[in-house]
Amino acid sequence: MKHLSGLSLVIGFILICLAPFVAGDFTVYLLTYAMLMAIAALSVNLLLGYTGLMSFGHGMFLGTGAYVVALMGKYAGVHSLELLIPLGVLASAALAAIVGLFCTRQIDIYFSMLTLAFGELMYALFAKFYNLTGGTDGVRVTTPLLFGQPVDSGMPYYYLALIFFVLCAAAMWIICKSPFGLTIQAVRDNEGRVGYLGLLVMKYRLIAFIISGAFTGIAGVLLVPLTGHAVPELFQTITSIGIVLMVILGGHRSFFGPVVGALVFVFLQSKLQPLFFWQFFLGAAIICLVIFLPGGVLGGFGLWARKLIKKSS
């Protein structure tokens, strides 16, 4: 079982590395998009799968990262990513700290509702202060620079996204396996007992929330040069729920589930969105998935593989 997942990981990684040489422009665009969303999905799963908190407001960190790029470009003329990424991380971590101070005191549905409410508040603020933010039209973003060189869309940007995806995934993997990762899983499983052992549960939730927000911020920073626009819809619930759906789709019980979920989601979306009924399908997919495949694609695959191994042995 362990060999199987390790092998599929390696094969998947090689495929992703070689993809731009065989795939068309649009597919490369979608793959880039999917990898950035996968960063966001992994960070959401750091909360959902590891800390046991379902955030319905992670769009706000995506939006924060995006608007850091857009507004810094528009008002300060800053286009270099080596400056924008730390700024995006700082801004979204700061927002996460403030929002988290209120949300992480709550558990369960309260947490979900509050994160959702804060996301909508951010949306309302960015949509209403149109003098500064361009309102619902958003802000255009130009080609970013890395070490003074422009990173063109297409293959160069694809590899940039890939590098950041690998870095972020590795960082989150290390965090999940670390003492802190163990502690948040303990909080997820039995927060009462964690208190009896002398730890302040809220502190660990808050830190997990800030880490998660910061990583989502990176995804936001890298997302806008790709789409060319920072729009307030990024803050909205539909974006946040989309990320949650990627996590559930891939399977929140495994570390790499969200990555698979993001890929599947982005490609399904690109096929279905031109149809009139995209939201309808999305809603139906959520319901069917939650009822029939609670472990997600990877969970379902794992179950199937285990059955197959049992049969053959």
Binding site: F56, L101, M113, L121, A124, I248, F277, I286, V290
Partner: protein, 290 residues
Amino acid sequence: MELVFNIFINGIFYSSILFLMSAGLQIIFGVLNIINFGHAAAYMLGLYICYGIIGLLPADYPALLWMAPIGAAILVGLLGLLFERGILRFMYKRDHVFQILVTFGIVLMVDDIIRFYWGGYSIGVPPLIDSMIEYGNIIYPVYNLIIIGAAAGLAFALWFLFRKTDIGRVIRATSLDEEMTEAMGISVMRVKAFTFLFGSAIAGLAGGLMLPVTGGWPGVGMEYLILSFVVIAMAGLGSVNGALVTALIIGMVNSLGVQYFPKLELAFVFILMALILSIKPSGLFGTHKS
């Protein structure tokens, strides 16, 4: 004086809508222990079904128009029942977060159904009564007063239902202890189904009544749902009385915000919520531990 009155009455009006929405959410949470995002769909369906019924009614009898919101409420209640029996009841043993996802799924589906059936543009109808109350410099539409009246009526009806009738006692018993209620020979399943029907119908009524005021567009329910979340989070989950009080508070804060800081009215509501929740995480009337 006139301004003060306007701020006050607008606040009350806004509170009424919030209460109509959040009361249903609270009742459903009390019994089913589910935060029902589907309430946004119920509101939206109520609004559009009301629009549909008005289109069908003969124009010569304005009194008949009142059948539209009531008919919408009944239909939405039945659709809610269908959703509860068809989908939601399979979710009762699952994690809260997955229950939420399912109810959100239905919102997305209803959104698209409405777009398909009624188109993606805004709709609107004239008020069912277009007379105004005039008193000195103050002019206020009678129709808005009727909505306020409906909310007040609902508050009274709920009080009566829960405190004075057997149905209300059964509902309260179910929300306190399901197993005990079941052991007393009451079908908890039926109570849940009825509660969901009832809660959805209230949201449908709210939507139907709001049609002439705001008009409608796909996605209109979400805005009110999110504010209702703020109401119930501040009130404490499950408390209908709390919803009434917080709806009034938020309505007033919002009305003041709209008047003096038109871009920040939402921010004020949220800051208020944040303050209250940081002092009392379970909400003003809440009892849960956190």
